[in-house]
Amino acid sequence: MNGNGGYSGETVRAMARELYGIELTEDRAAEIARQAAALAGAARRAGRVPDFDEELASAHRALDRAARERPGA
């Protein structure tokens, strides 16, 4: 992994071949690595780590809870 929370171009190229059966040029792999790192970095840059007990479906729980606690006006 590179410092941004994504994979390097070299790793992306190897993963593409090994995991997905996709052949990428070096340039394209580097570009995809850059874009994937930018996306993945968003979660890192959120500046907060979810609580250990937070559930994966928390958004839906939050929506249902808000519907009860904060009526839709």
């Binding site: 994504g6 997905y20 559930e55 929506l63 839709g72």
Partner: protein
């Protein structure tokens, strides 16, 4: 008045009152489509014979009884990603060009129960993955207000067909703005419901976490009637909500007196076209005159929610398309495939973080914004529809310049799962529509439609029609 000039509710009520038959309405609709399709390209398929058969059945049913379901005999059409068993759903793609569905979407089943008729399937961005309406496989969809301009996407045909009066109502899907953006750019009303409010069963997925399905029509009343028909719990959609649904049409006349309407003091008032700013200011005054109180609110930076939404979308879309990306890469438009590929290389830990942060960040947004005001009033997009040539996906840098700011206004709402309705609020000097959106608390669709309805009653932007060839000359 031409039959196709009627709104969805007016037409439904006219059919129920036997002032017009469903066959007459369907024939007028098909004639209008015949004349307008070459200009707008809103349809992928048109099935006139099937529609007319259904219209004859609707008329026969009405002749046997006094009561009729709310949309009996009304011609509609929907984005070509809603499956109907035995029919091809292309999803706007070459890859699915011959894919015959083996289920029928819950939303279509519910519209069938409500008596609606389907005249065809509507154009869309390939796999719902583009914001403009460009489509190499089925031809670009065009904006009826100026066919040199884009209709927006990904539900391009759903908005364009309603704006062009080819149909009175349609369904689209919205994962990051795909109902609201085209509705705004084409001057029609479109709603993105709360996550779980409308079943996605039988709809091609793009992102399991953030996909929603919503109607478009010329009026908020039309959208309300369609929502009442399609909303509600469905055990076949794992994210379906059991929250009770109201009759959305019943609450349309509720007074806005004392309602607090949030005016963004930051982010959503930046980088917007003068025509949009004018529409926003005018609509705010209309709401004030209706008794609502504009309240300035500071909104959280939308960049984080936008990026996290993009992360989830990229990872889920890549998972859905993995097989075809490997086996049939050349059957995608390059501009659709290229942004999808990075999603294959997002670490699972980052994807899970983005999902887990939805709840806490939603709570923050509710605390900071929707606890202080009842709704948030922001532009649907920063500008009117760009020209087709200015945002051709084949020139991604140019496209980013003209459409790149739109997701800031729509994607954070999708990440939070909140409801939002886009409402036309004026035109540019060149005759292109501009729109605002109202963002509400979870499951507040009734309030959003109530506000949209009262706004339309006071203004009348929705009564304007684009200057396209006149259709069949039948009169009601």
């Amino acid at each position: 008045m031409d039959i196709t000039d009627h709104t969805l509710c007016d037409l439904a009520d006219a059919i129920r009152a036997r002032r017009v038959s469903s066959v007459e309405a369907t024939e007028a609709t098909l004639a209008r489509i015949d004349r307008t399709q070459p200009l707008v390209n809103a349809f992928i398929s048109i099935d006139g014979d099937r529609a007319l058969d259904a219209a004859r059945r609707a008329d026969a049913a009405l002749s046997r009884r006094d009561e009729a379901p709310p949309l009996l005999g009304v011609p509609m059409a929907h984005k070509d990603l809603l499956y109907r068993k035995g029919r091809v759903s292309t999803c706007g793609s070459k890859i699915r060009r011959d894919a015959v569905a083996d289920v029928t979407a819950t939303a279509l089943e519910r519209l069938d129960t409500a008596g609606a008729i389907e005249v065809g399937t509507l154009n869309m961005a390939e796999f719902a993955a583009g914001g403009t309406g460009h489509n190499e496989h089925f031809g670009d969809c065009r904006n009826p207000w100026n066919t040199d301009h884009v209709p927006g996407g990904s539900s391009s045909g759903s908005a364009a067909a309603v704006a062009a009066r080819m149909v009175t109502g349609s369904l689209g899907s919205d994962t990051g703005g795909s109902v609201r953006i085209p509705a705004g750019l084409c001057g029609v009303v479109g709603i993105k419901p709360t996550d779980g409010r409308v079943s996605r069963h039988g709809v091609m997925p793009r992102s399991w976490a953030t996909d929603t399905l919503g109607p478009m029509a010329r009026t908020a009343r039309d959208v309300a009637r369609t929502m009442t028909a399609i909303a509600g719990f469905d055990p076949r959609d794992p994210q379906s909500s059991a929250e009770p649904i109201p009759d959305y049409e019943e609450g349309l006349e509720t007074s806005l007196k004392g309602l607090r309407i949030g005016v963004a003091a930051n982010y959503y008032n930046e980088d917007i076209d003068e025509s949009v700013a004018r529409g926003m200011a005018h609509s705010r005054e209309v709401f004030r005159a209706l008794g609502a109180e504009p309240v300035e609110v500071s909104v959280p930076n939308p960049a984080l929610a936008m990026r996290l939404g993009q992360l989830i979308l990229a990872a889920e879309a890549a998972a859905l398309h993995e097989k075809w990306l490997a086996e049939r890469p050349d059957d995608y438009q390059v501009a659709i495939r290229a942004p999808m590929e990075p999603g294959l290389f997002i670490p699972a830990t980052r994807y899970i973080e983005a999902l887990r942060l939805r709840g806490p960040l939603l709570d923050e947004f509710l605390d900071q914004v929707l606890d202080r005001v009842d709704v948030l009033h922001i532009p649907t997009g920063p500008a009117p529809a760009p020209a087709l040539t200015d945002c051709n996906p084949a020139s991604p840098e140019r496209a980013a310049r003209s459409m790149g700011l739109f997701p800031k206004f729509t994607r954070p709402v999708s990440y939070f799962g909140l409801p939002a309705v886009s409402v036309p609020c004026g035109f540019t000097d060149d005759g292109l529509p501009v729109a605002f959106q109202l963002v509400g608390r979870p499951f507040a669709e009734a309030r959003l439609l109530n506000m949209a309805h009262l706004y339309q009653r006071e203004t009348g932007w929705h009564e304007r029609a684009p200057d396209l060839p006149v259709s069949w000359s039948g009169h009601m």
